[in-house]
């Protein structure tokens, strides 16, 4: 069986007042079914742009070159009409900023139903049931009532879970999750990580998981890509990256994580 996602030599370029700038330079990785790739790295290093390029959702003006193949089929350069058919269905993405990716004027139920019916058809009644089940799956309390809430009526972490529910509603083969659990408390986070790991095992969903939380990466990723200033500095199995990091930047990252069990430094005077 071919790999689910193959990214080769991906470069993303923005035109700026001072000429074109590459914010992603020659990034390559592969993702098998049933695998989780963790992407970590500096703020501004191109993690989100890499994922947006895979989804065909780069901001206006940005250009992607190289190759992105989903199940052997090249996605770069494909017309938007075709990509739109794939998005939300075979591949979906959880965006870093949940508020700006939900429509404030529609209830979240309607927004989830719309994604579902666009790809699967079916009656409104069925879609509503699917939406409620999707909200339940991400651990939102009282889903029958909250399905009729507008985005602003949710807390930050609840909105993040609505986004996750929406991304999963068509059971995608590929899910790209950009900081999907940063707004969640650690118990809900554990629940969501369990849900994603389950989907990976049971339905072979491939997962790309972007986070700055290295402990989360260590618990969920099979492979890890470390990025810095648009470049990939390290790409290896999770075990290799955490136990035997090769690059100084990776070592520095691992050294600088605040750990809950470490002794405190003198900075705090309680």
């Amino acid at each position: 069986m071919s790999d689910l996602l193959v990214v080769e030599d991906l470069t993303v370029t923005f035109p700026t007042a001072r000429g074109p700038v590459d914010v992603v330079r020659s990034v390559s990785f592969t993702l098998g079914r049933d695998e989780t790739l963790g992407i970590v790295g500096e703020s501004g290093s191109g993690k989100s742009m890499t994922s947006l390029a895979v989804m065909g959702l780069l901001p206006k003006g940005a250009r992607a070159s190289g190759s992105v193949r989903l199940d052997g089929v090249e996605l770069l350069g494909r017309p938007d009409r075709e990509l739109r058919r794939l998005r939300g269905d075979r591949m979906s993405m959880i965006f870093q900023d949940p508020l700006s990716s939900l429509n404030p004027y529609y209830t979240v139920g309607l927004q989830i139903e719309e994604v579902y019916r666009a790809h699967r058809g079916g009656s409104g009644k069925d879609a509503r049931k699917v939406a409620i089940a999707a909200l339940q799956q991400v651990g939102l309390p009282d889903p029958e009532r909250r399905v009729d809430y507008y985005p602003h009526q949710f807390s930050g972490g609840q909105r993040q879970r609505v986004m996750i529910a929406m991304a999963l509603v068509c059971s995608p083969e590929l899910l790209i999750a950009d900081e999907p659990t940063t707004a969640l408390d650690v118990t809900v986070q554990a629940q969501i990580l369990g849900l994603l790991a389950g989907l990976r095992k049971d339905s072979g969903m491939g997962l790309v998981f972007i986070t700055h939380d290295l402990a989360v990466i260590s618990s969920i990723a099979t492979r890890v890509l470390v990025m810095r200033q648009g470049e990939q500095v390290e790409y290896a199995t999770a075990e290799q990256v955490f136990a035997e990091p090769r690059h100084d930047y990776t070592r520095m990252l691992l050294d600088s994580i605040p750990r809950i069990d470490d002794p405190l430094d003198e900075g705090v005077t309680a």
């Binding site: 703020s43 949940p98 309390p141 707004a183 969640l184 999770a238 136990a243 809950i260 705090v268």
Partner: protein, 272 residues
């Protein structure tokens, strides 16, 4: 001495019950705490437990259904006009969703200097120089001062929000998950900056966060919220070392840790 005192703050939202019957949902339920000058109080807890709603009430962006709020020795619960303006000058908020709190049509320079302009404070030097200095403080490239918010990454946008809050030398800064999207090195840098500014100008912090390791490093006291209530409030060392409440214990147990076997191997190699 206290800078801010919240007493019995309660927020109820109208909600539709089954069959469209009107019902009420209590998002924050009789929450009381105080914050001293130069103190950092962290608020942690369950998603949906009322942390952001509490933050909005103490920032006076939302009126409480019940309860009262004192700031700098003044009852500000119903403050209007000049009293409200005084309050606003002393309190800054950094929000959870960075992009939605930045005007997409304004350049970073305009965003960063607007608070000064509103409050009639003249920046030292030119506005441009002032904006650039603020950007440098939070680790952003000052050459990007004429860019718009959409041209920044998530973590960069969060730092613009932090820089804006610091622009007016507030007495109280309320950070609602303001460092959650930052990578560990930038996070460390921003936290160090906040601590230094706290030492230098003595302002107070209410710091809402999910990252308990970060909270443990920077908070003097911690409030733990669950289902609209504060279930535990104590010194950081006590809450982390000897948690009294069942929910606090569950929370601490769920903190993700790096695979200990991998971590041990790495540390051994570092020593070798």
């Amino acid at each position: 001495m206290t800078l801010l005192r919240a007493t019995g703050l309660t927020k109820r939202f109208a909600a539709r019950g089954p069959l469209g019957v009107k019902a009420e949902f209590t998002a924050v339920d009789r929450v009381s705490f105080d914050v001293g000058p130069g103190e950092t109080l962290a608020v942690v807890g369950e998603s949906g437990s009322g942390k952001s709603t509490t933050a909005r009430m103490i920032a006076k962006l939302m009126d409480p259904t019940e309860g009262s709020l004192e700031f700098d020795g003044e009852d500000v619960t119903r403050a209007k006009g000049a009293a409200l303006a005084r309050f606003r000058a002393g309190v800054q908020v950094v929000f959870q969703d960075p992009f939605s709190s930045l005007n997409p049509r304004h350049t970073v320079e305009r965003i960063l200097t607007a608070p000064l302009v509103y409050q009639g404070i003249a920046p030292n030097g030119s506005r441009r120089a002032h904006a650039k200095e603020l950007m440098e403080r939070v680790g952003l490239n000052p050459d990007h001062s004429l860019r718009y918010p959409a041209q920044f990454s998530g973590g960069q946008a969060q730092r613009i929000g932090i820089a804006r809050a610091l622009a007016v030398n507030p007495k109280l800064v309320i950070c609602d998950e303001a460092v959650s999207a930052l990578d560990v090195s930038v996070q460390a840098q921003v936290i160090e900056l906040l601590r230094r500014l706290q030492r230098e100008s003595g302002f107070s912090f209410v710091f809402i966060a999910h990252d308990l390791a970060v909270v443990r490093q920077i908070a003097h006291r911690v409030a733990v919220m669950s289902k609209g209530r504060i279930v535990e409030l104590g010194d950081t060392a006590q809450v982390f070392g000897d948690p009294r409440d069942e929910y606090t214990r569950t929370l601490l147990a769920a903190v993700p840790r790096i695979n200990p076997e991998w971590d041990r191997r790495r540390r051994e190699r570092v020593q070798a």
